[in-house]
Protein backbone atom coordinates (compact mmCIF):
# COMPACT_ATOMS: atom_id res chain seq x y z
CA UNK A 1 0.00 0.00 0.00
CA UNK A 2 1.02 3.60 -0.35
CA UNK A 3 1.62 6.05 2.43
CA UNK A 4 1.06 9.66 1.38
CA UNK A 5 3.15 11.96 3.51
CA UNK A 6 2.81 15.74 3.69
CA UNK A 7 5.81 17.53 5.15
CA UNK A 8 8.35 20.28 4.59
CA UNK A 9 10.67 19.48 1.75
CA UNK A 10 13.99 18.07 2.90
CA UNK A 11 12.76 17.54 6.40
CA UNK A 12 13.80 14.00 7.18
CA UNK A 13 10.71 12.21 5.98
CA UNK A 14 11.83 12.43 2.38
CA UNK A 15 15.39 11.19 2.85
CA UNK A 16 15.81 8.51 0.20
CA UNK A 17 17.79 6.16 2.43
CA UNK A 18 15.13 6.33 5.15
CA UNK A 19 12.29 5.72 2.75
CA UNK A 20 14.08 2.84 1.14
CA UNK A 21 14.65 1.16 4.45
CA UNK A 22 11.09 1.81 5.56
CA UNK A 23 9.65 0.43 2.35
CA UNK A 24 11.78 -2.64 2.62
CA UNK A 25 10.83 -3.22 6.22
CA UNK A 26 7.08 -2.65 5.99
CA UNK A 27 6.18 -3.15 2.32
CA UNK A 28 4.55 0.29 2.21
CA UNK A 29 5.45 2.65 -0.57
CA UNK A 30 6.01 6.28 0.42
CA UNK A 31 4.69 9.15 -1.67
CA UNK A 32 5.92 12.52 -0.51
CA UNK A 33 4.21 15.86 -0.94
CA UNK A 34 5.42 19.13 0.48
CA UNK A 35 4.18 22.47 1.72
CA UNK A 36 5.81 25.83 2.10
CA UNK A 37 3.81 27.24 4.94
CA UNK A 38 1.50 25.97 7.61
CA UNK A 39 -1.41 27.67 5.95
CA UNK A 40 -0.71 25.87 2.77
CA UNK A 41 -0.50 22.62 4.61
CA UNK A 42 -3.95 23.20 6.04
CA UNK A 43 -5.33 24.09 2.63
CA UNK A 44 -3.88 20.96 1.17
CA UNK A 45 -5.54 18.72 3.70
CA UNK A 46 -8.76 20.63 3.38
CA UNK A 47 -8.95 20.35 -0.37
CA UNK A 48 -7.71 16.78 -0.62
CA UNK A 49 -9.68 14.73 1.83
CA UNK A 50 -8.50 11.18 1.87
CA UNK A 51 -5.36 11.82 -0.06
CA UNK A 52 -2.84 12.01 2.77
CA UNK A 53 -2.05 9.44 5.40
CA UNK A 54 0.56 11.30 7.40
CA UNK A 55 0.93 14.99 7.90
CA UNK A 56 3.60 16.84 9.81
CA UNK A 57 2.02 19.67 11.82
CA UNK A 58 3.68 22.24 14.02
CA UNK A 59 2.18 21.65 17.45
CA UNK A 60 0.92 25.20 17.55
CA UNK A 61 -1.38 24.39 14.62
CA UNK A 62 -2.55 21.04 15.84
CA UNK A 63 -5.44 22.47 17.68
CA UNK A 64 -6.80 24.27 14.65
CA UNK A 65 -6.50 21.16 12.50
CA UNK A 66 -8.32 19.16 15.07
CA UNK A 67 -11.05 21.76 15.45
CA UNK A 68 -11.60 21.69 11.71
CA UNK A 69 -11.76 17.88 11.91
CA UNK A 70 -8.92 17.58 9.51
CA UNK A 71 -7.07 15.02 11.62
CA UNK A 72 -8.08 11.96 13.56
CA UNK A 73 -7.03 10.58 16.94
CA UNK A 74 -4.03 8.28 16.84
CA UNK A 75 -4.00 4.88 18.46
CA UNK A 76 -0.58 5.27 20.15
CA UNK A 77 -0.63 1.65 21.27
CA UNK A 78 0.28 0.80 17.68
CA UNK A 79 3.45 2.90 18.00
CA UNK A 80 6.04 0.99 20.02
CA UNK A 81 8.36 3.98 20.11
CA UNK A 82 5.72 6.35 21.53
CA UNK A 83 6.56 5.18 25.03
CA UNK A 84 10.04 6.65 24.74
CA UNK A 85 8.87 10.13 23.96
CA UNK A 86 9.68 12.56 26.72
CA UNK A 87 6.71 13.03 28.96
CA UNK A 88 6.52 16.80 28.79
CA UNK A 89 6.17 16.58 25.02
CA UNK A 90 3.95 13.52 24.76
CA UNK A 91 1.51 15.00 27.20
CA UNK A 92 1.53 18.46 25.65
CA UNK A 93 -1.93 20.03 25.75
CA UNK A 94 -1.27 21.26 22.28
CA UNK A 95 -1.40 17.68 20.97
CA UNK A 96 -3.73 15.84 23.27
CA UNK A 97 -7.39 16.71 23.42
CA UNK A 98 -10.02 14.99 25.50
CA UNK A 99 -7.55 12.30 26.33
CA UNK A 100 -6.97 11.48 22.71
CA UNK A 101 -3.64 11.91 21.00
CA UNK A 102 -3.88 14.03 17.82
CA UNK A 103 -0.19 14.45 17.30
CA UNK A 104 2.89 12.37 17.88
CA UNK A 105 5.81 14.63 18.89
CA UNK A 106 8.63 14.12 16.46
CA UNK A 107 11.35 16.72 16.77
CA UNK A 108 11.72 20.08 18.36
CA UNK A 109 14.06 22.91 17.72
CA UNK A 110 14.80 26.55 18.16
CA UNK A 111 14.58 29.69 16.22
CA UNK A 112 17.72 31.23 17.58
CA UNK A 113 20.64 33.11 16.17
CA UNK A 114 23.20 31.79 13.79
CA UNK A 115 26.43 33.50 12.93
CA UNK A 116 28.85 33.56 10.10
CA UNK A 117 31.98 32.23 11.83
CA UNK A 118 34.21 34.31 9.59
CA UNK A 119 32.79 37.50 11.07
CA UNK A 120 33.32 36.68 14.72
CA UNK A 121 36.42 35.77 16.68
CA UNK A 122 34.28 34.80 19.59
CA UNK A 123 30.60 33.86 19.35
CA UNK A 124 28.34 36.57 20.77
CA UNK A 125 26.04 35.74 23.63
CA UNK A 126 23.40 38.42 23.42
CA UNK A 127 20.60 39.04 21.04
CA UNK A 128 21.67 42.69 21.13
CA UNK A 129 24.47 41.81 18.76
CA UNK A 130 21.97 42.14 15.91
CA UNK A 131 21.49 45.79 16.72
CA UNK A 132 25.22 46.46 16.74
CA UNK A 133 26.02 49.13 14.12
CA UNK A 134 29.08 47.06 13.16
CA UNK A 135 26.72 44.64 11.47
CA UNK A 136 24.69 47.22 9.66
CA UNK A 137 23.41 45.76 6.42
CA UNK A 138 24.70 42.33 7.33
CA UNK A 139 21.82 41.04 9.41
CA UNK A 140 19.17 38.69 8.12
CA UNK A 141 15.87 37.57 9.60
CA UNK A 142 13.07 35.39 8.31
CA UNK A 143 10.21 36.97 6.46
CA UNK A 144 7.61 35.73 8.88
CA UNK A 145 5.41 37.99 10.93
CA UNK A 146 4.82 35.67 13.87
CA UNK A 147 8.43 34.76 14.23
CA UNK A 148 9.56 38.35 13.93
CA UNK A 149 7.16 39.56 16.56
CA UNK A 150 7.99 36.75 18.95
CA UNK A 151 11.63 37.49 18.38
CA UNK A 152 10.98 41.08 19.24
CA UNK A 153 9.25 39.91 22.39
CA UNK A 154 12.32 38.03 23.46
CA UNK A 155 14.53 41.02 22.72
CA UNK A 156 12.31 43.16 24.93
CA UNK A 157 12.23 40.53 27.65
CA UNK A 158 8.62 39.44 27.22
CA UNK A 159 6.82 36.13 27.05
CA UNK A 160 6.36 35.22 23.42
CA UNK A 161 2.95 33.70 24.03
CA UNK A 162 1.67 36.62 26.01
CA UNK A 163 3.02 39.86 24.66
CA UNK A 164 1.95 42.72 26.85
CA UNK A 165 3.84 45.62 25.37
CA UNK A 166 3.37 45.54 21.63
CA UNK A 167 4.73 49.05 21.21
CA UNK A 168 8.05 48.07 22.73
CA UNK A 169 8.24 45.20 20.25
CA UNK A 170 7.47 47.55 17.44
CA UNK A 171 10.07 50.08 18.47
CA UNK A 172 12.66 47.38 18.89
CA UNK A 173 11.97 45.89 15.51
CA UNK A 174 11.85 49.29 13.86
CA UNK A 175 15.36 49.96 15.02
CA UNK A 176 16.40 46.56 13.68
CA UNK A 177 15.11 47.17 10.15
CA UNK A 178 17.99 49.37 8.92
CA UNK A 179 20.44 46.71 10.02
CA UNK A 180 18.85 44.14 7.76
CA UNK A 181 20.24 43.09 4.42
CA UNK A 182 17.29 41.04 3.29
CA UNK A 183 14.71 38.60 4.58
CA UNK A 184 15.19 34.91 4.20
CA UNK A 185 12.46 32.45 3.54
CA UNK A 186 14.25 29.18 2.99
CA UNK A 187 17.33 27.45 4.29
CA UNK A 188 18.84 27.86 0.90
CA UNK A 189 18.63 31.63 1.13
CA UNK A 190 20.49 31.62 4.41
CA UNK A 191 23.16 29.25 3.22
CA UNK A 192 23.75 31.21 0.02
CA UNK A 193 24.14 34.42 1.97
CA UNK A 194 26.73 32.87 4.20
CA UNK A 195 28.50 31.12 1.38
CA UNK A 196 28.95 34.42 -0.41
CA UNK A 197 29.88 36.10 2.88
CA UNK A 198 27.14 38.68 2.69
CA UNK A 199 25.90 38.44 6.26
CA UNK A 200 27.27 38.24 9.79
CA UNK A 201 24.34 37.21 11.89
CA UNK A 202 20.66 36.35 11.71
CA UNK A 203 17.83 34.31 13.05
CA UNK A 204 17.96 30.68 12.02
CA UNK A 205 16.49 27.32 12.84
CA UNK A 206 18.60 25.03 14.98
CA UNK A 207 18.20 22.03 12.69
CA UNK A 208 19.09 24.05 9.67
CA UNK A 209 22.15 25.51 11.30
CA UNK A 210 23.24 22.01 12.16
CA UNK A 211 22.63 20.91 8.58
CA UNK A 212 24.54 23.88 7.20
CA UNK A 213 27.55 22.97 9.30
CA UNK A 214 27.45 19.18 9.06
CA UNK A 215 26.20 18.61 5.60
CA UNK A 216 27.20 21.68 3.65
CA UNK A 217 30.39 22.49 5.56
CA UNK A 218 29.49 26.15 5.84
CA UNK A 219 31.02 28.40 8.50
CA UNK A 220 27.82 28.58 10.50
CA UNK A 221 27.25 28.11 14.17
CA UNK A 222 24.15 28.39 16.30
CA UNK A 223 23.95 30.80 19.21
CA UNK A 224 21.28 30.55 21.85
CA UNK A 225 21.28 34.06 23.24
CA UNK A 226 21.10 34.64 26.90
CA UNK A 227 17.76 36.44 26.47
CA UNK A 228 16.27 33.19 25.21
CA UNK A 229 14.94 31.71 21.96
CA UNK A 230 11.72 30.59 20.33
CA UNK A 231 11.15 26.87 20.40
CA UNK A 232 8.76 24.86 18.35
CA UNK A 233 7.61 21.29 18.36
CA UNK A 234 6.80 19.36 15.23
CA UNK A 235 4.47 16.43 15.42
CA UNK A 236 2.97 13.87 13.08
CA UNK A 237 -0.76 13.49 12.67
CA UNK A 238 -3.04 11.28 10.64
CA UNK A 239 -5.55 13.18 8.50
CA UNK A 240 -9.20 12.32 8.77
CA UNK A 241 -10.15 9.93 6.00
CA UNK A 242 -6.70 8.41 5.61
CA UNK A 243 -6.96 5.25 3.53
CA UNK A 244 -3.93 3.60 5.07
CA UNK A 245 -3.95 4.24 8.78
CA UNK A 246 -1.85 1.19 9.45
CA UNK A 247 0.83 2.34 7.08
CA UNK A 248 0.66 5.78 8.63
CA UNK A 249 1.23 4.35 12.08
CA UNK A 250 4.14 2.33 10.84
CA UNK A 251 5.64 5.42 9.19
CA UNK A 252 5.27 7.62 12.25
CA UNK A 253 6.80 4.94 14.38
CA UNK A 254 9.69 4.72 11.93
CA UNK A 255 10.23 8.42 12.13
CA UNK A 256 10.52 8.50 15.90
CA UNK A 257 12.81 5.48 15.97
CA UNK A 258 16.31 6.19 17.41
CA UNK A 259 17.95 4.32 14.55
CA UNK A 260 16.47 6.63 11.96
CA UNK A 261 17.21 9.68 14.06
CA UNK A 262 20.88 8.93 14.57
CA UNK A 263 21.33 8.30 10.89
CA UNK A 264 19.49 11.50 10.10
CA UNK A 265 21.66 13.58 12.39
CA UNK A 266 24.88 12.06 11.17
CA UNK A 267 24.18 12.11 7.48
CA UNK A 268 22.20 15.28 7.16
CA UNK A 269 21.83 17.20 10.36
CA UNK A 270 18.53 17.50 12.22
CA UNK A 271 16.67 19.17 15.09
CA UNK A 272 16.30 17.47 18.43
CA UNK A 273 14.22 14.35 18.62
CA UNK A 274 11.30 14.21 21.01
CA UNK A 275 12.30 10.61 21.71
CA UNK A 276 14.63 10.61 24.72
CA UNK A 277 16.19 7.30 23.66
CA UNK A 278 16.97 8.71 20.32
CA UNK A 279 18.77 11.68 21.79
CA UNK A 280 20.67 9.43 24.12
CA UNK A 281 21.83 7.39 21.17
CA UNK A 282 23.78 10.40 19.96
CA UNK A 283 27.42 10.82 20.94
CA UNK A 284 27.97 12.61 24.25
CA UNK A 285 29.23 15.79 22.71
CA UNK A 286 26.67 16.04 19.96
CA UNK A 287 25.20 19.51 19.75
CA UNK A 288 21.66 18.20 19.96
CA UNK A 289 22.55 16.35 23.11
CA UNK A 290 25.05 18.56 24.80
CA UNK A 291 23.72 22.05 24.09
CA UNK A 292 20.07 21.41 23.42
CA UNK A 293 19.82 18.97 26.25
CA UNK A 294 21.49 21.40 28.63
CA UNK A 295 19.05 22.26 31.43
CA UNK A 296 20.44 25.83 31.40
CA UNK A 297 19.32 26.14 27.87
CA UNK A 298 15.97 24.57 28.60
CA UNK A 299 15.30 27.34 31.06
CA UNK A 300 15.90 30.01 28.51
CA UNK A 301 13.72 28.75 25.70
CA UNK A 302 10.04 29.42 25.25
CA UNK A 303 7.80 27.02 23.31
CA UNK A 304 5.41 28.53 20.80
CA UNK A 305 1.80 28.15 21.82
CA UNK A 306 -1.10 28.33 19.36
CA UNK A 307 -2.09 31.83 18.40
CA UNK A 308 -5.44 33.06 17.24
CA UNK A 309 -6.16 34.24 13.72
CA UNK A 310 -6.74 37.72 15.05
CA UNK A 311 -3.31 37.77 16.68
CA UNK A 312 -1.72 36.44 13.56
CA UNK A 313 -3.31 39.15 11.46
CA UNK A 314 -2.30 41.80 13.94
CA UNK A 315 1.28 40.52 13.81
CA UNK A 316 1.18 40.55 10.04
CA UNK A 317 -0.16 44.08 9.95
CA UNK A 318 2.65 45.20 12.23
CA UNK A 319 5.24 43.36 10.20
CA UNK A 320 4.00 44.74 6.89
CA UNK A 321 3.97 48.23 8.32
CA UNK A 322 7.58 47.82 9.39
CA UNK A 323 8.55 46.64 5.95
CA UNK A 324 6.75 49.51 4.26
CA UNK A 325 8.31 52.04 6.60
CA UNK A 326 11.76 50.88 5.74
CA UNK A 327 11.25 51.24 1.99
Amino acid sequence: AEVHVLNWKGYGADEPWAIQAFEKATGNKVVNDFFNSEQEMLTKIRTNPGLYDVVMINAAFNNQAMAEKLIQPIDVSKLPNYADISKDKAGSPMLDHDGKVYGVPWVWGLTALAINEKSFDKPPTSIAEMWDPAHKGRVIIRDDAVEAVQFGAIATGQNINDIKDMDAVKTKLTSLMPQIKTFWSSENDWNQMVASNQIDIGTYWSGSADRAKTHFKLPVSLVIPKEGAVAWLDAFSIPAGSKNVEGAQAFINWMIDPKFYVEWVTKVGAPVSANTKAVEALPEDAFNRKVMGDPEVAKRIQFQAPITDAQREAYLALWQQLKVDVK
Binding site: E40, M177, S196, N197, E313, L316, K323
Partner: protein, 289 residues
Amino acid sequence: MAVPGATASRSGQRSALPLLAPAYLWLTVAIFLPLSAMVFFSFMTDLPLSGKPWAFTLGNYAAFFSQSLYLTLLLASLRLGLEVTLWCIVIGYPAAYVLAKVLKGRSREAIFLLVILPFWSNGLVRIFSWAMVLREGGILDTALNAVLPFKINIDLMYSYPAVIIGLVHSYVPYMVLTCYLTLQAIDDSLIEAGRSLGASRLQVLKRVIIPLSLPGLVAGAALIFVPVVGSFMEPRILGGRTGTFYGTVIEDQFVAVFNWPLGAALSFILLAVVLVILAVASPVLRRAA
Protein backbone atom coordinates in the same frame (compact mmCIF):
# COMPACT_ATOMS: atom_id res chain seq x y z
CA MET B 1 -3.88 49.57 -43.79
CA ALA B 2 -6.34 48.48 -41.23
CA VAL B 3 -9.80 49.28 -42.40
CA PRO B 4 -11.88 48.32 -39.45
CA GLY B 5 -14.88 46.27 -40.25
CA ALA B 6 -14.64 46.61 -43.99
CA THR B 7 -15.82 43.08 -44.52
CA ALA B 8 -17.50 42.93 -41.20
CA SER B 9 -20.63 44.81 -40.36
CA ARG B 10 -23.08 42.35 -41.87
CA SER B 11 -22.32 39.08 -40.29
CA GLY B 12 -21.59 39.99 -36.65
CA GLN B 13 -22.30 37.77 -33.76
CA ARG B 14 -23.33 34.61 -35.53
CA SER B 15 -20.15 34.32 -37.57
CA ALA B 16 -17.95 35.27 -34.65
CA LEU B 17 -19.41 32.75 -32.28
CA PRO B 18 -17.83 29.52 -33.50
CA LEU B 19 -14.41 31.17 -33.52
CA LEU B 20 -14.77 32.78 -30.12
CA ALA B 21 -16.60 30.07 -28.26
CA PRO B 22 -13.76 27.60 -27.68
CA ALA B 23 -11.35 30.17 -26.31
CA TYR B 24 -13.85 31.95 -24.12
CA LEU B 25 -15.45 28.75 -22.88
CA TRP B 26 -12.07 27.59 -21.81
CA LEU B 27 -11.35 30.87 -20.10
CA THR B 28 -14.71 30.72 -18.40
CA VAL B 29 -14.23 27.29 -16.96
CA ALA B 30 -10.63 27.70 -15.94
CA ILE B 31 -10.46 31.36 -14.98
CA PHE B 32 -13.67 33.34 -14.89
CA LEU B 33 -15.68 30.91 -12.79
CA PRO B 34 -12.86 30.33 -10.29
CA LEU B 35 -12.29 34.05 -10.07
CA SER B 36 -15.99 34.63 -9.59
CA ALA B 37 -15.81 32.29 -6.67
CA MET B 38 -12.97 34.42 -5.39
CA VAL B 39 -15.00 37.56 -5.84
CA PHE B 40 -17.65 35.88 -3.77
CA PHE B 41 -15.12 35.03 -1.08
CA SER B 42 -13.86 38.57 -1.04
CA PHE B 43 -17.18 39.58 0.47
CA MET B 44 -16.96 37.06 3.28
CA THR B 45 -15.66 37.30 6.76
CA ASP B 46 -14.13 33.85 6.55
CA LEU B 47 -13.79 31.02 4.10
CA PRO B 48 -16.57 28.43 4.25
CA LEU B 49 -13.82 25.93 3.63
CA SER B 50 -12.22 26.52 6.99
CA GLY B 51 -15.25 25.18 8.78
CA LYS B 52 -15.73 28.41 10.70
CA PRO B 53 -18.89 30.45 10.61
CA TRP B 54 -18.92 33.14 7.98
CA ALA B 55 -20.98 36.10 6.93
CA PHE B 56 -21.06 38.68 4.21
CA THR B 57 -19.06 41.80 4.72
CA LEU B 58 -17.60 44.74 2.91
CA GLY B 59 -14.85 44.84 5.48
CA ASN B 60 -12.20 43.43 3.23
CA TYR B 61 -12.64 46.25 0.78
CA ALA B 62 -12.94 48.73 3.58
CA ALA B 63 -9.61 47.50 4.90
CA PHE B 64 -7.93 48.80 1.80
CA PHE B 65 -9.12 52.28 2.53
CA SER B 66 -8.75 52.20 6.27
CA GLN B 67 -5.05 51.41 6.22
CA SER B 68 -2.71 53.76 4.41
CA LEU B 69 -0.34 50.85 3.99
CA TYR B 70 -2.22 49.36 1.07
CA LEU B 71 -2.56 52.56 -0.84
CA THR B 72 1.11 53.34 -0.35
CA LEU B 73 2.06 49.93 -1.62
CA LEU B 74 -0.37 50.07 -4.54
CA LEU B 75 1.18 53.35 -5.63
CA ALA B 76 4.64 51.90 -5.23
CA SER B 77 3.61 48.92 -7.35
CA LEU B 78 2.07 51.12 -10.02
CA ARG B 79 5.25 53.12 -10.14
CA LEU B 80 7.23 49.93 -10.40
CA GLY B 81 4.98 48.77 -13.26
CA LEU B 82 5.39 52.06 -15.02
CA GLU B 83 9.15 52.15 -14.65
CA VAL B 84 9.59 48.59 -15.79
CA THR B 85 7.32 49.21 -18.76
CA LEU B 86 9.22 52.34 -19.72
CA TRP B 87 12.56 50.60 -19.48
CA CYS B 88 11.20 47.75 -21.57
CA ILE B 89 10.09 50.23 -24.20
CA VAL B 90 13.38 52.07 -24.13
CA ILE B 91 15.35 48.86 -24.45
CA GLY B 92 12.97 46.72 -26.45
CA TYR B 93 11.61 49.09 -29.07
CA PRO B 94 14.95 49.95 -30.69
CA ALA B 95 15.82 46.28 -30.75
CA ALA B 96 12.52 45.47 -32.43
CA TYR B 97 13.17 48.26 -34.89
CA VAL B 98 16.61 46.98 -35.75
CA LEU B 99 15.25 43.49 -36.17
CA ALA B 100 12.35 44.58 -38.33
CA LYS B 101 13.90 47.25 -40.47
CA VAL B 102 17.67 47.10 -40.34
CA LEU B 103 18.67 43.46 -40.30
CA LYS B 104 17.84 41.39 -43.32
CA GLY B 105 17.91 37.73 -44.11
CA ARG B 106 18.57 34.69 -42.02
CA SER B 107 20.28 36.32 -39.08
CA ARG B 108 17.03 38.11 -38.36
CA GLU B 109 15.04 34.95 -37.75
CA ALA B 110 17.82 33.48 -35.66
CA ILE B 111 18.27 36.54 -33.47
CA PHE B 112 14.56 36.81 -33.07
CA LEU B 113 14.34 33.35 -31.61
CA LEU B 114 17.37 33.99 -29.44
CA VAL B 115 15.54 36.90 -27.85
CA ILE B 116 12.73 34.63 -26.71
CA LEU B 117 14.80 31.78 -25.50
CA PRO B 118 15.89 33.10 -22.08
CA PHE B 119 12.22 33.14 -21.35
CA TRP B 120 12.17 29.40 -21.37
CA SER B 121 14.47 29.08 -18.45
CA ASN B 122 13.08 28.95 -14.96
CA GLY B 123 12.21 32.29 -13.47
CA LEU B 124 13.61 31.44 -10.06
CA VAL B 125 16.85 30.16 -11.45
CA ARG B 126 17.18 33.37 -13.44
CA ILE B 127 16.61 35.46 -10.35
CA PHE B 128 19.26 33.55 -8.45
CA SER B 129 21.64 34.14 -11.29
CA TRP B 130 20.97 37.85 -11.04
CA ALA B 131 21.86 37.72 -7.38
CA MET B 132 25.18 36.32 -8.47
CA VAL B 133 25.72 39.23 -10.83
CA LEU B 134 24.50 42.07 -8.71
CA ARG B 135 25.78 41.36 -5.26
CA GLU B 136 28.88 42.80 -3.72
CA GLY B 137 31.79 40.70 -4.89
CA GLY B 138 29.53 39.41 -7.66
CA ILE B 139 30.23 39.30 -11.36
CA LEU B 140 29.42 42.93 -12.06
CA ASP B 141 31.47 44.16 -9.11
CA THR B 142 34.46 42.00 -9.97
CA ALA B 143 34.32 42.75 -13.67
CA LEU B 144 34.06 46.51 -13.21
CA ASN B 145 36.83 46.58 -10.66
CA ALA B 146 39.02 44.56 -12.97
CA VAL B 147 38.55 47.13 -15.72
CA LEU B 148 38.38 50.38 -13.84
CA PRO B 149 41.56 51.90 -12.42
CA PHE B 150 39.87 52.98 -9.19
CA LYS B 151 38.04 50.84 -6.68
CA ILE B 152 34.28 51.01 -6.58
CA ASN B 153 31.84 48.99 -4.61
CA ILE B 154 28.92 47.68 -6.59
CA ASP B 155 26.22 46.15 -4.51
CA LEU B 156 22.98 46.46 -6.36
CA MET B 157 21.49 43.38 -4.80
CA TYR B 158 18.54 43.79 -2.47
CA SER B 159 17.60 47.18 -3.75
CA TYR B 160 15.01 48.80 -5.94
CA PRO B 161 17.31 48.83 -8.97
CA ALA B 162 17.79 45.10 -8.58
CA VAL B 163 14.04 44.59 -8.74
CA ILE B 164 13.86 46.75 -11.85
CA ILE B 165 16.71 44.90 -13.51
CA GLY B 166 15.23 41.52 -12.75
CA LEU B 167 11.78 42.48 -13.97
CA VAL B 168 13.02 44.24 -17.08
CA HIS B 169 15.05 41.20 -17.90
CA SER B 170 12.03 38.98 -17.54
CA TYR B 171 9.68 41.15 -19.52
CA VAL B 172 11.69 42.89 -22.21
CA PRO B 173 11.23 40.06 -24.72
CA TYR B 174 7.49 40.77 -24.68
CA MET B 175 8.18 44.25 -25.90
CA VAL B 176 10.65 43.19 -28.55
CA LEU B 177 8.21 40.66 -29.88
CA THR B 178 5.04 42.66 -30.00
CA CYS B 179 6.75 45.73 -31.42
CA TYR B 180 8.52 43.68 -34.01
CA LEU B 181 5.22 42.28 -35.19
CA THR B 182 3.80 45.65 -36.07
CA LEU B 183 7.05 47.30 -37.14
CA GLN B 184 7.75 44.59 -39.62
CA ALA B 185 4.38 45.20 -41.25
CA ILE B 186 5.09 48.86 -42.02
CA ASP B 187 5.55 49.39 -45.71
CA ASP B 188 9.00 50.78 -46.42
CA SER B 189 7.55 53.18 -48.93
CA LEU B 190 5.89 55.07 -46.07
CA ILE B 191 9.25 55.66 -44.50
CA GLU B 192 10.62 56.76 -47.83
CA ALA B 193 7.68 59.07 -48.35
CA GLY B 194 8.31 60.67 -45.00
CA ARG B 195 11.95 61.30 -45.79
CA SER B 196 11.22 62.59 -49.27
CA LEU B 197 9.12 65.22 -47.54
CA GLY B 198 12.15 66.39 -45.63
CA ALA B 199 11.66 64.55 -42.38
CA SER B 200 14.81 63.31 -40.70
CA ARG B 201 15.04 59.71 -39.58
CA LEU B 202 14.03 60.80 -36.12
CA GLN B 203 11.02 62.70 -37.32
CA VAL B 204 9.93 59.77 -39.46
CA LEU B 205 10.30 57.59 -36.41
CA LYS B 206 8.19 59.88 -34.31
CA ARG B 207 5.53 60.80 -36.80
CA VAL B 208 5.17 57.68 -38.91
CA ILE B 209 6.81 54.60 -37.50
CA ILE B 210 5.82 54.88 -33.87
CA PRO B 211 2.19 55.70 -34.58
CA LEU B 212 1.95 52.82 -37.02
CA SER B 213 3.58 50.36 -34.65
CA LEU B 214 1.47 51.55 -31.75
CA PRO B 215 -0.78 48.48 -31.61
CA GLY B 216 2.29 46.38 -30.87
CA LEU B 217 3.68 48.90 -28.44
CA VAL B 218 0.40 49.04 -26.58
CA ALA B 219 0.00 45.29 -26.51
CA GLY B 220 3.53 44.93 -25.21
CA ALA B 221 3.06 47.62 -22.61
CA ALA B 222 -0.15 46.05 -21.37
CA LEU B 223 1.41 42.61 -21.22
CA ILE B 224 4.23 44.03 -19.12
CA PHE B 225 2.59 46.66 -16.97
CA VAL B 226 -0.30 44.49 -15.89
CA PRO B 227 1.57 41.54 -14.43
CA VAL B 228 4.42 43.62 -13.04
CA VAL B 229 2.03 45.60 -10.88
CA GLY B 230 0.98 42.39 -9.18
CA SER B 231 4.37 40.71 -9.12
CA PHE B 232 5.79 39.43 -5.85
CA MET B 233 8.47 36.89 -6.56
CA GLU B 234 11.08 39.21 -8.07
CA PRO B 235 10.55 42.01 -5.56
CA ARG B 236 10.76 39.63 -2.65
CA ILE B 237 13.95 37.95 -3.72
CA LEU B 238 15.78 40.81 -5.38
CA GLY B 239 14.40 43.69 -3.34
CA GLY B 240 15.43 42.40 0.03
CA ARG B 241 14.47 44.84 2.72
CA THR B 242 12.88 47.19 0.20
CA GLY B 243 11.09 44.49 -1.72
CA THR B 244 7.66 44.92 -0.19
CA PHE B 245 5.02 45.70 -2.80
CA TYR B 246 1.34 45.31 -3.30
CA GLY B 247 1.83 41.84 -4.72
CA THR B 248 3.81 40.69 -1.71
CA VAL B 249 1.14 41.76 0.78
CA ILE B 250 -1.46 39.88 -1.24
CA GLU B 251 0.80 36.88 -1.14
CA ASP B 252 1.13 37.24 2.61
CA GLN B 253 -2.62 37.16 3.03
CA PHE B 254 -2.77 33.92 1.11
CA VAL B 255 0.32 32.20 2.37
CA ALA B 256 1.03 33.52 5.85
CA VAL B 257 -2.31 34.25 7.46
CA PHE B 258 -4.80 32.39 5.36
CA ASN B 259 -7.00 35.45 5.01
CA TRP B 260 -8.15 34.75 1.49
CA PRO B 261 -11.12 37.08 1.60
CA LEU B 262 -8.82 40.02 2.30
CA GLY B 263 -6.23 38.79 -0.20
CA ALA B 264 -8.91 38.41 -2.85
CA ALA B 265 -10.38 41.82 -2.12
CA LEU B 266 -6.94 43.37 -2.45
CA SER B 267 -6.38 41.69 -5.80
CA PHE B 268 -9.71 42.76 -7.19
CA ILE B 269 -8.97 46.30 -6.21
CA LEU B 270 -5.72 45.92 -8.08
CA LEU B 271 -7.56 44.51 -11.09
CA ALA B 272 -10.03 47.37 -11.05
CA VAL B 273 -7.25 49.94 -10.90
CA VAL B 274 -5.35 48.28 -13.72
CA LEU B 275 -8.44 48.08 -15.91
CA VAL B 276 -9.24 51.70 -15.30
CA ILE B 277 -5.70 52.66 -16.22
CA LEU B 278 -5.90 50.62 -19.43
CA ALA B 279 -9.28 52.08 -20.26
CA VAL B 280 -8.06 55.62 -19.73
CA ALA B 281 -4.87 54.98 -21.64
CA SER B 282 -6.38 53.34 -24.67
CA PRO B 283 -8.30 56.28 -26.15
CA VAL B 284 -5.33 58.52 -25.49
CA LEU B 285 -3.11 56.09 -27.30
CA ARG B 286 -5.60 55.65 -30.09
CA ARG B 287 -5.69 59.36 -30.60
CA ALA B 288 -1.93 59.41 -30.78
CA ALA B 289 -2.02 56.76 -33.50
